[in-house]
Structures are given as structure tokens and as C-alpha cells.
Amino acid sequence: MQVYLPIAEMSVNALLIVGLGGIVGFLSGMFGVGGGFLTTPLLIFYGIPPAVAVASAANQITGSSVSGVLSHWQRGGVDVRMGMVLIAGGVTGSLIGAAIFAQLKAMGQIDLLISLSYVIFLGVIGTLMLIESVRAIMRARRGVQRPRRRRHNSLAYRLPLKMEFRKSKLYISALVPFGLGVGVGILTAVMGVGGGFIMLPAMIYLIGMPANVVVGTSLLQIIFTTGTVTILHAIGSKSVDILLAMLLLVGGVIGAQFGARAAQKLPGEQLRVLLGVLVVSVALKLLFDLLVEPRELFTLFEETAR
């Protein structure tokens, strides 16, 4: 069933897009990451202009994050205070990121920036995931149960502007979560990702938050940051396609529910290896596209102001 997307100005197979959203949603429900880092590259592979892919994926992530945060909220797994500081950083970062985005779009280098960012981040994260999950499997085989210790980064304690975060049982400098928020905000604006895959380890190891509030709080931050990015992109490059985002959302929220259920039944460690492999493959494909001579050397940039 073909649907014409008014902002992307092309017709797509609606079922394929819903399916894409569904697969990514399934993965996000299973592993707890937003999945945005897969949505944007997959949309670009399909042929959607990168700027539209980034902006519409951000819009979709807002929806799926709202869907996910509710169950965490009910279990008391959201540190609102920490979330506020993260959001303040996120909004600031989105402004910076959106400005970078607009500047590079005008220079005609936005595709390059998006591809390079994805190659680097997916490559690094994917490799880390692979290493971590392979180690976890080997540990489980040997039967060694390593106690999970919360490593406190002393940086968070040394910097000024300390605030008390009761839910996380922390009294640390607010600059650390703020800085993290800024970094994630920039990434969200430029790459169309939620940033969860960076925030989760950073919250545990950099800030030192307890595991039970990490996912919920990061989802809260993602909601407001992706929301801000959506609005900024709508104003700046006019590249938010509501129809595309809705199609992805339908697939995404349904897939996430199935994914969360599947997570309980299937072996976690093996699946994490698969996810790591998937992420690294996407990174390699993007890298390949950058290094190999493209079939068409020319691209067009139309200046129509209709």
C-alpha cells in the first residue's frame, strides 16, 4: 500500500515503514534502548532524504519513549530531579546541534556528517556491546558471579554546583548530568537518535546512579530532548514528516510491547551478542558507502521555496 509523504515528497510502501518501525520497536523493547540509531540509517537506506529521516525519527522516538516511561514511572523508577538537569542539558545541546545541522545543510555536507557520526558511534558502541556480551556469556559459562559494584567517578564529586538527588541517593555536581545532557542533545539533533545507548552506561559509570532508576530517567530525558529536536527541525529545515513519524510509531509501539515480552522468555546474553553484531554491521555498511566510489558522483540540491 503506497502512501505519499508530503514532506519527504515521495511515496513509500506504508507496510514496509510500519514493519521497519516494528522491528526497531521490538529491539528497543527487548534491550531497553530507543532503537533510533537503527531507524535513521534504515530510513536512509530505503531512500528517504537524510534530513527528513533524522527529524522524523526523532519525532517517533518521542512517542515510543512516552510509551516506555509509563511502566517505569509506576514502579518508581524515574528520578525526576536528575531528569530535569539532564533535560536542561539536552535542550541546550539540541540548540547547538540544530545550528550545526543547519550550517552543514547549507554547505551541502549534512549527509557526510550524518554518515560519519553514525559510523563512529555505531562502530564504537557496537564493538563495546559485542565485547561486553561475549564476556558476559563466558562469565556465565564459567559460573563466576561477579558482584555488580557501582563505580563512583570522583569527577562527579569534585566539580562545583552540587545538588541532592534523593531518588538516586546521590549528592553530586549537577554539571556532570548537565554536560551529559548537552552531549546527547547534540547527537539527537544531528543523528536523530534518542541517545539511550550512550546515556545508560554514562549514567551508571559516570554519574553513579542505581540501576533501577537509570532506564526510566533516561527515557524522561529522551522524551523532552527529542521533542525539542523535532520542533527545532520543524522550524529550521522543515524536515519533519508527521506521516512518516506516525507510520514508524504505529509499528514501534506495537513492536516494543512484543519485544518487552520476548525479553523475558529468550536468553538475554546471546541476544545481546546478536544486537552487537547488528549494530556493527550497520556501521560497516555506512563506512563501506563512504569509502567506495559511489555509482553516481553528482547530487542535486534544489533551492525551491514553494
Binding site: V66, I231, A234, I235, V240, E293
Partner: protein, 254 residues
Amino acid sequence: MMRAVLLAWLLLGIGPAQAQPRIVTDLSDRRINIEYSFDGADLLLFGAIDSGGARLEKPLDVVVVVRGPEAPVTVRRKEKVAGIWMNTESVRFQTSPSFYRLISTRPLEDFASPQTLAIYELGVDQLHFSPDSAGSQSGADIRAFRNGFVRIREQLGLFGEAGDGVTLQSDVLFRAELRVPSRVPIGNYEAEVYLFSNGKVTARTTVPLVIQKSGFERFLYTWAHTEPFGYGLVAVLIAAVAGWGAASLFQRKA
């Protein structure tokens, strides 16, 4: 206005004999509305030749050109920089048609001289793209950019020449079919029809075509461009509500 001038020119040009050949044409759809399930359109152009009593020299040929709105375009070329292929040089073409499809009864070179083609700007090679002189590229290099531009447009079905697309019956009735792709620029188009009599243009006419988004698609597009903040805000709210709705729906089920 243009048609009046054209008609006057035709009347003056044909000479003392009162016989004036003319060509009339129409489209199956003068307006293509892009709606939610738009996947391209099949356009039918048809018409008739009226010799007006004059004796038309055979052979007769009909050339149809569908032109889209003109807009400036920047063409960028990739080069290998530090191992990575990235955009480096660019050429900006000020006037370039966004859509140019030419269909004729026979390949142009079989009946028309290069001079005639140049005068009437018939054929992709005759189009004026007006490259910006700001760049430091040579003429041959600009040619490469121009060819790249045309090639990309051709692959999208926006540019093309078909030397057998017009069927002419009994030297009177003609028809041509054109496939308009889904990724088509919006705006005012013109379909120009030329009557060639033994290689010379003897009559000419145009018919306007409008391609626009309509209904919900147009509403979304216009809204996104005129009130971007409101559009963005609503996009976020819809996503939030949809996410909330989906979560509560599934929770109640479980």
C-alpha cells in the same frame, strides 16, 4: 498573452493565402492532484491537426514537450578526500527546468535541423541552464556537471526524450502518453505541441498543466511551511499521546 502573440505571428507568417494550419491539443487531466496514495500518474495528451485549407508538405511530425517550473539547482560532485568520498566542487545552475519530457513521432534528428531545434529549444541538449560564473570550473567541467544533472533527472523519470511516443493517425489525429513519476515537482507546467511539416515548424500550441498537492497532503505541507513551530509542537504532542495510548492499551490487555 503569449497565445495572442503566437497567433498573430502565425497569421502574419503564413502569407497572403488565407489558409492557416493549426494544431489543437488537450490533456486527459489538466490538474494532477497529489493525494495520500499518489504513486505517479499516466498523462494522456491528444489533439488534431487542422490544415486550414493549406497544403501541408509531408511528412508531418508532431513534437510534444512537457516542461515543469524552473528553479535554481546546485549540483555537487564527490571526490575522494582522505579516503572518504565527499562533496567538494559544485556548480549552481540558475535556470533549470525541474521537469522536461519530450515525445515525438520520430527521433528529432530524423526530420529537424539543428538550427530549428536550437531556435525552439527542443531537446535536452538545447536547454539553457545558466551556470553561475562564480565557480572556477572550465567549460568542459561545467559540461560534466550538466550531464550529471541531466542523468540524475533522467533516472527519476523527470527528464527524457522519446522518439516514438507520439502516434499520428491519418495525418490528423495524434496522441501521446506520458508517465509522471511520484517524485514530481509541484507547480505550473506547460505542454507545448509543435507541428512539423517537412522539417519546418508550421504550427504550435500550448496547454497548461498544474501539479499540486491536495487535500490532507497539501494541508500538512502548507502547515509545515507556514507555521513550523505549531506544526512541530503538534507533531510532538501527537507522538506523546500515541505513545501514552499504546502503553495504556497494552497494559490493560496484559
